[in-house]
């Protein structure tokens, strides 16, 4: 536990320091060189500063969300809703990013899929994180396949993407806060890198719904995340 805490603090410190150093450095450079820099270069530096502030904002929001979940501060507001519709909304949201990497994104929904019960705001967050990860880690020209099927008294959600896969040593710690794994640094541009909190948030939200998430991955093959929610 103490080791995990140390790892968490080290991870947060590193991820706060990096964008801060970028912001601070480029602001100082702009101030020092404002007379010699052309408009295009100034704009480029300003965009780098803006990216840094977005990274910080994302990190702070994720930390706040995770701490609220761990403190059990916000009770669930459960209601019946269509998980298929929510998946469709998230797929639409990811279309531009998927298109940029020429990814084929398919959603297969069983006919007459029943409504599930849960807190739609939180489950939307789960789907956002899973769709974002699938696009982020999918290879160029790769595939993302989403399936929703009814199974006993539950609806199962499954999202699979092609790509480099997850190192077997990372699989057991994948849902721990600040375990970003080896695939992150190897394959993701810095500006799109993970905060290392997304899957920890997913796990906590699903735990609050009495559900668990599982992952299967093979090297240079499919990575598949699966969870189920109770039927209304």
């Amino acid at each position: 536990m103490e080791k995990n805490h140390r790892q968490l603090v080290a991870g947060i410190s590193h991820d706060l320091r990096t964008p801060l150093a970028t912001i601070q450095g480029y602001v100082e450079t702009l101030l020092m060189k404002k007379k010699e820099l052309g408009a295009a270069q100034q704009e480029r530096y300003l965009n780098i500063i803006q990216d840094g502030t977005h990274q910080l904002q994302h990190l702070v929001e994720d930390l706040f969300e995770l701490s609220k979940l761990e403190a059990n501060e916000t009770p669930l507001q459960t209601e019946p809703f269509s998980l298929a519709d929510l998946a469709g909304d998230n797929a639409a949201r990811c279309q531009i990013a998927a298109h940029e990497k020429q990814i084929t994104l398919n959603i297969n929904v069983s006919p007459d899929l029943p409504l599930v019960t849960g807190d739609i705001r939180y489950i939307d967050r789960v789907l956002q994180n899973l769709f974002d990860n699938a696009v982020k880690y999918c290879d160029i020209n790769g595939k993302i396949i989403v399936e929703l099927i009814s199974h006993r008294q539950e609806v199962a959600f499954r999202i699979a993407n092609t790509g480099v896969g997850i190192d077997p040593t990372d699989l057991t710690h994948l849902f721990d806060a600040y375990h970003t794994g080896k695939r992150t640094k190897k394959n993701i541009p810095q500006s799109k890198s993970s905060t290392g909190l997304g899957l920890a948030i997913v796990k906590k939200i699903l735990q609050k719904h009495g559900s668990t998430i599982t992952v299967e991955s093979e090297a240079n093959g499919m990575t598949v995340f699966t969870f189920s929610l109770k039927i209304d």
């Binding site: 990096t18 150093a21 970028t22 450095g25 480029y26 450079t29 780098i48 990216d51 640094k185 810095q190």
Partner: protein
């Protein structure tokens, strides 16, 4: 000219250091991963590097 090697995985931080080192008259080489950086460091006689900056 002073030769400086930067090994840093964050492109934007590497570029930032490069900007200021060039202002100081340095000849800067950048590598974004340790393996390539180590190879580059060994390819040049070690004494020729004024500084090697590692992430």
């Amino acid at each position: 000219m002073k030769k400086v090697l930067i090994i840093e995985d964050d492109c934007r931080l590497a570029e930032l250091v490069e900007i200021h080192l060039k202002d100081l008259g340095c000849q800067v080489t950048i590598h974004h991963n340790g393996k390539e950086g180590l190879t580059a460091a060994r390819e040049t006689p070690f004494k020729q590097w004024k500084k090697i900056i590692v992430s």
